[in-house]
Amino acid sequence: MSDGTLLLVALVLPFLGSLLAGFLPTHARNAAAVLAGSVSLVGVAIIVWLYAAVADDGPVRLWLAWLPMLGLDFTLRLDGLAWLFAILIFGIGALVVLYARYYMSPEDPVPRFFSFLLAFMGSMVGVVVSGNMVQLVFFWELTSLFSFLLIGYWHHTTAARDGARMALIVTASGGLCLLVGVLLLGRIVGSYDVDQILASGDLLRDSSLYVPALVLILLGAFTKSAQFPFHFWLPHAMAAPTPVSAYLHSATMVKAGIFLLMRLWPVMAGTDAWFYIVVPAGLITLLLGAFAAIFQQDLKGLLAYSTISHLGLITLLLGLGSPLAAVAAIFHTLNHAIFKASLFMAAGIIDHETGTRDLRKLSGLYRYMPFTATLAMVAAAAMAGVPLLNGFISKEMFFAEAVADHTGSLLDDSLPYWATLAGVFSVTYSLRFILGVFFGPPPVGLPHRPHEPAHWMRFPIELLVLICLLIGIVPGLTVGPVLATAVQGLLNATAPYYSLALWHGFTLPLLMSFIALAGGVVLYAALRRYLDSGIEGPPVLRELKGQRIFEKVLVTLSWQWARAAEAALGTRRLQPQMRIVVGLAVVAALAPFLAGGAVGTGTLPGTPVAPAFALLWAVGIACALSAAYQAKYHRFAALVLVGGSGLVTVITFIWLSAPDLAVTQLLVEIVTTVLLLLGLRWLPKRIENVYPNRPPLKVLIRRYADFTIACSLGGLMAFLSYCLMTRPLPESVSRFFVERAYSEGGGRNIVNVILVDFRGFDTMGEIVVLCLAALTVFALLRRFRPAPESIESPEQQRIQNAYDEAAPDRRPGDTATDDMLIPRLIMHWLFPVIAVLAVYLFMRGHDLPGGGFAAGITLSIAFVVQYMASGTRWVEDHLRVLPLRWMGLGLLTSAATGVGSWWFGYPFLTSHFQYVELPFIGKMPTASALLFDLGVFLLVVGATVLILIALAHQSLRSSRAAQAAEGGE
């Protein structure tokens, strides 16, 4: 396997593991842990294996074309910097998995936890190994998403939900800014490829878009890495299980922003804009975080603010713009990940074994868990920057950089003082952590009696603390080569000289370190009384809460403004909305006239009037007007009248050379009428004359307004169609269809050929819509609850049944049966006739009016006629209609016909035809479009029958309900 492929495996493996873990049973705690652990270890092995290649030959790459036209390729690129982050992700990941195995309670759905954790691991690896900036942003957003899921893992607690939401909103908004920034970057450079971007530093810095791109990218980095003023989400993310805090919110995810700054450092850093945005942000974060950390009462809160402060330190270093500062930044990133992860795990152990993380309750734990206490003390000492530990060396480098001159500005000159002050703070909070938790009187009132944890739970801390010591004592031997490779990857050959050693002689940074240590001890002693008073949060700054501002903004945006907008623009009433819609249609129809001036009628000589046609439309117009008038009180009459208008439409279609439309419209008319008849029964009785004297003025005004709207729309539509009809028909795509219908579609009915052949894909979509409508009708009716007053049988049925019950020799229902005797017989006999008609319409459809739609509706009428003649029960005893199967079969047939053309190497739904000689019938066209039409036919039958039967069944159901109600009384 090539190195590039191995890298791909390392990226894909966590996602596969995540999927697999997601399917494990809820209580498969060990299986999930073993899975996650193996994935992480394989990841570690692959990354370690790739080290030689990265160190010797430069970045390992993998390139897969995706959308090359847009400059989007799937590119993996592992250089020294990415290697360092990758090993952190997999290495600390493996330790966190081991730790989490013991930390997570068996009652929790642990496989889900590991599934999220693995997915996060994959996303994070994706961020660091992406060789394309857009791809990086994609994985970046994935990390935000999985961080959200992990923080909200215990979603039954409000803190977890709120913390998760806050983290997602802050980091994902930053991610959006980053995306725009990256798009700008790509626009400047002309490519999203990391190598290309890294080679275009001057072009980038000289561009007029540099500052906007920089600001947007920094917004992304600062939100992710919890830099002031976006730092507030991180302490709330501590609602997550502690392994998550150790992994995402100290070692890896919050370092994504840092990674991005490092990635773009060679091409974006060094300008004034960079210095004056990044340095102040980093400095404020460093000081504020360290100061706030001192005053936390929650153990994890203390660590969270300390993390914020250390992230600020790294940002500050990167902001300085000197190569040495960048080296220090990389080194501190590594060191911080190691000691902070072990501290979080220690905090988790304390929480796990004592049941609390409150510093006011914890005390004197050394006597119960000496081993854990010792480990935590070493790690905390590393955090404070005590010599012989890794934190000391990188902090020393930080102090050296703070002293060094960069821009000569006031900000630059004052840095040593600020740096020392931050050092003092960090010593103070480290002391507080150690002295507060492990020393002092024995604790009282703890939920559990504390004791040492299981050995394997402590093992990750042991290993990490050992690494702290090794790096701290012999840095050159342990971390030296790795750091050199990372620096090489970051700075690309211009690596400055730096010395990794414990002892540099009596220098200013060393003095600063000792001032910080001594000052920290003094400050702790001075604050002792204040801290013991148990007040939560730092003095002065306590009132300034990012969270409160965030929530205020959120409430304003998503609640108050939304409500205001709804109140101003929305209505729950349909009629005003309809008026707006229709009004807009009127405006749209008027617009061309208003813009282009008055338009007269066309020049086409009119077609001479046939008197019968005029008469026909007189009837049609009368029907439409009376339907509009009667629809409120006389529903049945309105239905008949609408049917009249429909018939006029049908005859118009025939008259004006559209036989296909006429056939289809006529059939649809029949089915629609039956449908509405079935529905009528469930509508409420209408009380006439609501306003006995005269309707109130308001109602009258509304009616006149509606009348005006209706008339203007109708008038406009009439005028528009008249204008168009009197103009000559321009040349259009119709010529194509007319000339090729036969030669290429093999049919003489051009409309049918268009539907099933040329535009077969549209028809495919249309039958899917029909299918969905039918299924929706079916689903809605399954839950149908009729209004109480509609449940009892209709009046006519009651009269008939009463008559039957009164007569001794009759059973209820006999009258209805007798009345229908002759029609029923005819209707039974009609079934084969209509079915043959349907087949006929279908077969001739390609050459003459007819086709799948018409045939399908015809056959469904044959079924419906049986239901009307004999009632639902009788039909279903004698005939099993399975409309759902018809629909499925139809859809499959149509789709299979379309897919079939792939088989012969043609695009979807390409038609093939030839004429075959059939016995008795004669020469018949058999285009593959016929098969497609067959699918249409089957689906239309199924859908229509399904809709009608579902509606007809409601009567059965409600009569059963009525009987049950009577039986119950």
């Binding site: 439309w617 208008s645 439409t649 559209a658 169609s721 009809m725 000339e739 219908a741 051009i750």
Partner: protein
């Protein structure tokens, strides 16, 4: 002129339909939608101009001449619209019935006006 008659018919159908969909009762709206469907279908259809005795069906062994036949495209569009219109009517009817069962009223807003 046939054109005049047809366009007046389209206008009246549309006006009646619009009047009805602005009414408060669901049944009025469904009837109105049917009328609007006729009007719109005829409107689209009329874009192919008024042609008599020229159905878009080719005679055997005669090459297709667009000038001699009615325009097939508006017809194909309307054919689709008719079937979709049926599906829509059915769906709307059932929504209407379900709303009536659930809210106890056939007012379009799901509650009687005050």
């Amino acid at each position: 002129m046939m054109e005049m008659i047809l366009s007046i018919g389209i206008g009246v159908f549309a006006a009646s339909g619009v009047w009805l969909i602005l009414r408060p009762r669901t049944y009025q709206v469904i009837i109105g939608l049917s009328l609007i469907s006729y009007a719109v279908n005829l409107f689209i259809f009329s874009m192919g101009r008024v042609r008599i005795d020229a159905p878009p069906i080719l005679q055997p062994d005669v090459p297709g001449d667009p000038a001699a036949l009615a325009d097939p495209i508006p017809q194909a569009l309307v054919l689709t619209a008719i079937v979709i219109g049926f599906a829509m009517t059915a769906l709307f009817l059932v929504v209407l019935l379900a709303a009536r069962g659930r809210t106890g009223t056939d007012h379009v807003d799901g509650r009687e006006p005050e």
